[in-house]
Amino acid sequence: MFYKATKVTIIAERLLQSGILKILEAGGAKGYTIVDGSGQGEHINRKGDRASVVRAFSIVRIEFIQTDDASARAIAEEVSQTYFKQYSGIVYVSPVEVIRTERF
């Protein structure tokens, strides 16, 4: 059986990671997954795994799933409000279906 849920993906500078995770936990996310990356946006260019003197600016991609769509979106909004006026990063939301609802 598959149940509707909402996935929120946050792409941000590594130095924001711990602050973002606090918002997730406060907002009731039961879990999250983090992947390292690099990227390009409005702000500085970030290269991949080559040595970089500015590693702290590299990108993390944090995603979490919640069955409660409103709560997921509220967390997304809060992360965006808190950080992405000043720092680099984007947030987006997408629909998914999960198997075990008790986990999300």
Binding site: E13, L15, H43, I44, N45, K47, D49, R50, A51, S52, V53, V54, R55, A56, F57, Q86, Y87
Partner: protein, 335 residues
């Protein structure tokens, strides 16, 4: 004239030593589009080993040192760091087309200290057999932290003036703690503590010391590649940043040299120590500084300060300032 001749001689010697060659080699490789890259994990390992080596050595020597001798140079280091930042604030921030936050973050970075430049200076002084107090590299944090703190405080005062709501009073204690937590200072302080409190013996002589030169050569290669790659970023920002990056290391180094000379005549700081002080003044933070500034002055554009320091500031500090201040010391102290 003598200085120029001395500088030319010292510069020529350095061209013979591979240290500078690796820096230039890195730039050429990046410029030629080479696919050679040094993995990030290796870069971080190298920085750790170099700073541990500097720290261990410093710690072992401090044991025997008269610590009061350190106090005055440490104070002068802090003064140097602050004066450098103030100069950036007074000059760079007032230039046309320069955003205040960008200027102040850049000044902070150039007031702070670079581990790779310091390591290169140590190797070259050892090669030229110019003695210096082994604790001289321990002046690093005394210049680095005040410079970063001052830049952040100035940025925050400016924000307060501009709009009351956003200008939060900066917590100086928190900034200092955050600086100390950076990977470069953590490694340096760990090395100092272990060198001071234990007897590193064979760990130092069989590992950290023999690795020093070789790993530094790789670090300089990386710095060279970075310098070239970030030129593109620098091109996107005001030209004044490039001009500043060209001259600030020399001016800052002269300030460091002058204050070091003061310590020489008052507390007998050695000529080699004066060179070290001048070079850490000339250097600009490349490891710990950028993330600290990024977190604390988010409105500053990283491309301006990182471009300026990595692409121009560090090559100038290593390739120009090291031979320059050795030559100057030669002239002043008749080494």
């Amino acid at each position: 004239m003598d200085l120029l001749a001395n500088f030319a001689a010292s510069f020529a010697t350095q061209l013979q030593s591979p240290t500078l060659a690796f820096l230039i080699g890195g730039m050429l490789l990046a410029a030629s589009g080479s696919r050679l890259t040094i993995p990030d994990a290796i870069y971080r390992f190298i920085v750790f080993v170099l700073l541990m080596r500097i720290g261990l050595h410093g710690g072992m020597e401090i044991k025997e040192a008269d610590l009061t001798a350190l106090a005055f140079p440490a104070l002068l280091s802090a003064v140097t760091g602050c004066v450098c930042v103030m100069m950036g604030w007074l000059v760079l921030a007032r230039l046309p087309g320069i955003k205040f936050d960008d200027a102040i973050a850049t000044s902070g970075l150039f007031g702070a200290v670079s581990a790779s430049t310091l390591a290169a200076a140590i190797i070259i002084l050892e090669e030229e057999m110019i003695a210096f107090e082994a604790w001289a590299p321990a002046l690093y944090p005394f210049m680095d932290i005040p410079a970063l703190v001052l830049a952040i405080v100035l940025a925050s005062l400016h924000a307060q003036k501009a709009q009351t709501e956003n200008g939060v009073r900066p917590k100086i204690g928190a900034i200092i703690v955050d600086s100390l937590r950076g990977s470069a200072l953590s490694a340096l302080l760990l090395g100092l503590a272990i060198g001071l409190l234990t007897n590193p013996g064979r760990i130092y002589t069989e590992f950290y010391d023999p690795m020093f030169r070789g790993l530094l050569s790789i670090l300089l290669l990386i710095m060279g590649m970075e310098a070239y790659s970030r030129l593109a970023e620098l091109r996107g920002v005001a030209h004044w940043f490039a001009v500043y990056a060209l001259f600030a290391p020399i001016v800052h180094g002269l300030i460091g040299f002058g204050l070091g000379y003061l310590a020489h005549i008052t507390v007998g700081f050695s000529p080699g120590g004066v060179i070290v002080l001048a070079i850490i003044a000339a250097s600009n933070s490349d490891i710990s500084g950028p993330p600290t500034l990024r977190a604390a002055i988010p409105n500053a554009n990283p491309s301006s300060y990182i471009g300026a320091s990595t692409s121009i500031g560090t090559p100038i500090a290593i390739a120009v300032c090291i031979p320059l201040f050795i030559a100057l010391a030669d002239l002043v102290f008749g080494l």
